[in-house]
Subunit: 641 residues, 2 copies
């Protein structure tokens, strides 16, 4: 999936949810995972054939599920699963998580009364069956309606969805707010949070479980334990989950009880009867309780059951063979990153790659993980810990390289500021997918990393414009000990340098003047350097001789150069592939504020956009060459000093 | 301490560390706390008299501690405690945490070999004894040297300090990085993280404990359990700690073992012999282990033992009586906030105050907490959960008001973005202490909340300029359902409005023009409105008629007004009491970028400053009336359009 990661699709429900990128295969390394082999799943795996739905067309909502007799529910599950696979094979999306939750979702709606009883899905990438059972089945039965629903819970779609959720580990806390509000208002009803085992390593989930025990009222947490994160799980708590599974919930030491919560175990988490029985027992419970269900990720589709990591999220595929029908050609930045780091590890024993549960998004396939050995660290979905760990390792003289997706980097601001940058630990952070053109679900926007990082003192944030510059910056960062360095990994087609690339970037904030002209200067950061070049060529067509600049740094500005330009330039343009508010361009605008130089800053407007067409979005934000060029001509034509 | 909070001292070691603000007294409410009464502390409390140190003057480092015979260590502890109280009574600082850790710190240095063995203190507000034993005793023995050391670990002071730490819950993760680096480099030595029970509710600490179990090598986590956070603990895990204490570590259910860690319990956590025995047993251990020590917060000073919350951190006091020698006169914004919310609760049953372990910083004394009952929620030190909880409660129609210190707000950026703002949940967030003039320790700077919050779409961030405007905004926020609202609570002297205050702030981004003039407009946000007024009066003295503006909003700009001003103004000044980079002023500079209007933006330069003199800092950033006025005159004198 490293390949897919570099060419992110823009169709919405085909977009990966948080941490929804795998490599191929799944390795077994820790005691927790070693014990997995011992658990006794007895579900019958079948090769899915198309089933013409007879029950689902009559399910307009949960009431229609309840109207079925128990004997009909397995058929409903088969119909749901068949439709899931049909849509996934044509459209792509989250495969393993949804296939594993079919029975549990049916049982939840059979036992509880949504929306009076409130069900909150963590990440909500496993909510497809929930959508089918709450009036949105058409979006799974008719190809022309596939995009009528998003890949996550969405209150604007249904009263059965309570939050827009896409990041991991948030559901317990959000749901506990619904429960607290219910109690303050003297209302009744069950509040149910569904959280996967992979999400339990995230700090917010652990904070939420800890506090939930303080609720002196109904609160149900369903822990969907499929023994997997996106890749294998990492963390000591997973040994406890393994012990709980092995003992059918009876082992004396119990993480959930240790957090003050009542506990129920369900071994047959894909058995509707067992689930209905368990949910019925906790329904209307007067205190917080965890229902730990043991499910099979990818349940019902042999390839997904066998290769859980690869099938966590998938592009369109051939249902019969499991082969992707989508093919990305050529190299990509994620794959080359892992290859490059592996090469460097051969000569640098202190180089260590760190991921927070998302190896696939930067090329760390299981084979490469094995090859890296103890120089590859997956901390689980725990970005806060990942940054602090990297800081400690850098302080102690090793070379940690932490790869984080722009959207998930948001989960660790304080650690970047306090643990890393105040301590000035020389770690390298690779910011992946930072762009307006990668993920377009509102919960996965990769727009905000420049504003977030560039406000933090000490941090050097580089935005390379091509492959050679990127690798030169990465190599340099491993030798640089003055400050932490973040690098915004380019997105899209891998392009070689068309001009010499330096090996040293120690002169913080030093911009590269690619073409020197007059009147107008266009500064294009990172991915948008190519946009800057296009703008310049249009301006040249108009008889102008624009100055073209690659700033290299988005965390600092080249004040000496900017002051020098002021003498011969009337207009300076900044282009950044991200949110405009708080970003790079505003630094330039502030610097020129006291002068007569006119500044035009381009980037994304301050708004949460969802499931957008990238070309339309760029157009709406005037981020196309003709639009920028037109604005420049207008600015130049105005009376100026 | 609410009173103190409104007049934050600027002397460094007198500054509160994270969550280091108490109210008065400590109530017992939860099962966890009820059980506390049962624990059998048998330490002898003594009233401290001054002891002339005979051993400590000879302790230049840990080797000198090791050179003592065990029988001398209790005397060393008595000398340390006497000096701690002596300095604290004159200087202020963290009292309870340091008094409770005297014996454990002596035992650590007696058993381990710092700095080869690396000791990392969480928050590090309990590291005073460590400083005394590592060559810095003079800073506790000589009044004129009190400020030679900071109140936290500081690598620039000593090779025995490994990180600058001030925020909670970070030590386990940072230390695990030292351990991982040690292993990669094939080095030896113990790595020890010291973390308090109060810090365990923080997500980063839980992420760190979970991952630490993956270390297949030496790693020691000392859990200093004094049964308290700053105030009482909240969260289900504290019931497990109570069970562990009650069973002397023998109860079958064990949070730490459930996270995959080995475990040792020490009931007599203020008994040097018991501690030396326990630390000797785990020294050079080949796997991760938790040493759970039961200590007495405030140990050795009767008032601090009896009223742990009030004595967590203290201003200077009379050693004999425990009475503060520091008196703050008049009302303060923190105290009036809690009083106001309590009044509102009488007519609004759905109003709920939420704190993340810091009730004292916004006036929530134990008495007021009792009065608020179930409308007061302390989630423990868990800012991420606090924001998600507030979002859920707001979504369900109640009125949560979350109070967070600017510095600790940083710990929950992603929850603000994802859980709160994407869902547009109409919660109210009170940002406390946001200013360049409150906390001056580098780990506690309150400079960054404007850049952090104003980049998040949907969030309305208000900056009131006086008490009446503040309370009007707070009242309005509880009726506003369109978006989440954050309010930057004013700092310093409480001032009444000198002009009419509206009751409705629904017109997002609408600035208040206080005085309308021409040529130059001065926009002073929040606390800096008074600075703007002073600047204007100086400009008036120069014969100018400046326009004076209170923007009210820092999250939005009044583009209509700014465009209107462009016709009659050549210079526009922005003043904000925080970091300049990514802040409010840059929005204005960008807006005017394409025009001939000159903009001058004022705020703090992008840097981590530490233990600074506020007046000097303001001067260095040209944040005084004469400096700003002079710059304006210069700008106006330049040739312009």
């Amino acid at each position: 999936m490293g390949r897919v990661a570099s060419h992110p699709p823009v169709a919405t429900t085909a977009l990966p949810a948080q941490h929804s990128y795998g490599g191929v295969g799944c390795r077994q390394v820790s005691p927790a995972r070693d014990r997995r082999g011992a658990h006794s799943h007895t579900f019958i795996t079948f090769t899915t054939m198309h089933i013409t739905p007879t029950l689902l067309p009559h399910v307009q909502g949960p009431a229609d599920v309840k109207a079925l007799i128990p004997e009909q529910l397995p058929l409903l599950a088969a119909e749901v699963r068949s439709l899931l696979l049909e849509k996934l094979s044509h459209h792509g999306g989250h495969c393993g998580p949804n296939l594993g939750m079919v029975e549990a979702t049916i049982a939840l709606h059979y036992v509880f009364h949504s929306p009076q009883d409130k069900i909150v899905f963590d990440v909500s990438h496993q909510s497809y069956t929930h959508k089918m059972l709450t009036g949105r089945a058409k979006a799974f039965m008719q190809a022309d309606c596939y995009d009528d629903v998003s890949g996550y819970t969405e209150p604007s779609e249904s009263e059965h969805d309570h939050f827009i959720i896409g990041h991991t580990s948030t559901a317990v806390s959000l749901a506990s707010g619904l429960a607290k509000a219910r109690d303050l208002k003297g209302e009744k009803g069950n509040v149910i949070a569904i959280v996967g085992d992979g999400s339990l390593s995230g700090g917010e989930a652990l904070e939420g479980l800890d506090w939930a025990a303080e609720l002196d009222s109904n609160f149900i947490v369903v822990v969907n334990d499929n023994e997997m994160s996106i890749a294998e799980n990492h963390g000591g708590l997973y040994r406890n989950l393994a012990d709980l599974r092995a003992s059918h919930g009876e082992c004396p030491n119990n993480l959930f009880r240790a957090m003050g919560l009542d506990y129920v175990y369900v071994e047959r988490g894909n058995d509707i009867d067992a689930l209905i029985d368990a949910f019925s027992r906790v329904k209307d419970v007067d205190h917080p309780v965890v229902v730990h269900i043991h499910t099979l990720k990818g349940k019902g589709y042999a390839p997904a059951e066998q290769d859980k990591e690869r099938w966590h999220w998938t592009m369109p595929f051939d249902l019969a063979t499991g082969q992707l029908t989508y093919r990305a050609d050529g190299d990509d930045y994620n794959d080359l990153t892992a290859r490059h780091l592996l090469r460097l590890m051969q000569s640098d024993p202190s180089l260590c790659a760190i991921t927070a549960g998302t190896p696939g998004i930067w090329g760390w396939t299981p084979e490469r993980r094995r090859e890296a050995g103890n120089r590859y660290v997956d901390v689980g979905i725990a970005e806060e810990h990942a940054v602090a760990l990297a800081s400690g390792m850098a302080k102690a003289g090793t070379h940690p390289v932490l790869g984080l997706c722009s959207s998930f980097l948001q989960r660790t601001y304080d650690q970047l500021s306090q643990d890393l940058c105040i301590n000035d630990s020389p770690a390298t952070i690779l910011v992946l997918w930072g762009s307006l053109s990668t993920m377009t679900d509102v919960t996965h926007l990769c727009h905000f990393d420049i504003p977030l990082l560039t406000g933090i003192p000490n941090l050097v944030y580089l935005a390379p414009t091509n492959k050679d510059e990127y690798l030169a910056m990465l190599d340099w960062s491993l030798t640089y000990t003055a400050h932490p360095v973040a690098i915004r990994v380019p997105v899209g087609e891998v392009a070689a340098a068309d001009r010499p690339v330096p090996a040293d970037f120690s002169e913080t904030g030093k911009f590269e003047v690619v073409e020197r002209g007059s009147d107008v200067a266009v500064i294009g950061a990172g991915n948008f350097f190519s946009l800057a070049r296009s703008v310049c060529s249009r301006l040249q067509d108009e008889g102008l001789t624009p100055t073209l600049i690659n700033p290299r740094f988005v965390s600092h500005i080249d004040t000496a150069l900017l002051d020098e330009l002021a003498a011969t330039h009337r207009v300076v343009v900044t282009l950044e592939d991200g949110a405009l508010t708080g970003g790079f361009g505003e630094r330039v605008a502030r610097h020129y504020g006291p002068t007569s130089v006119r500044t035009l800053c381009y980037g994304a407007a301050k708004e949460f956009v969802n499931r957008y067409s990238v070309p339309d979005f760029l157009q709406a934000n005037r981020l196309t060459p003709p639009q920028v060029a037109a604005d420049v001509l207008t600015a130049l034509s105005e009376k100026s000093c």
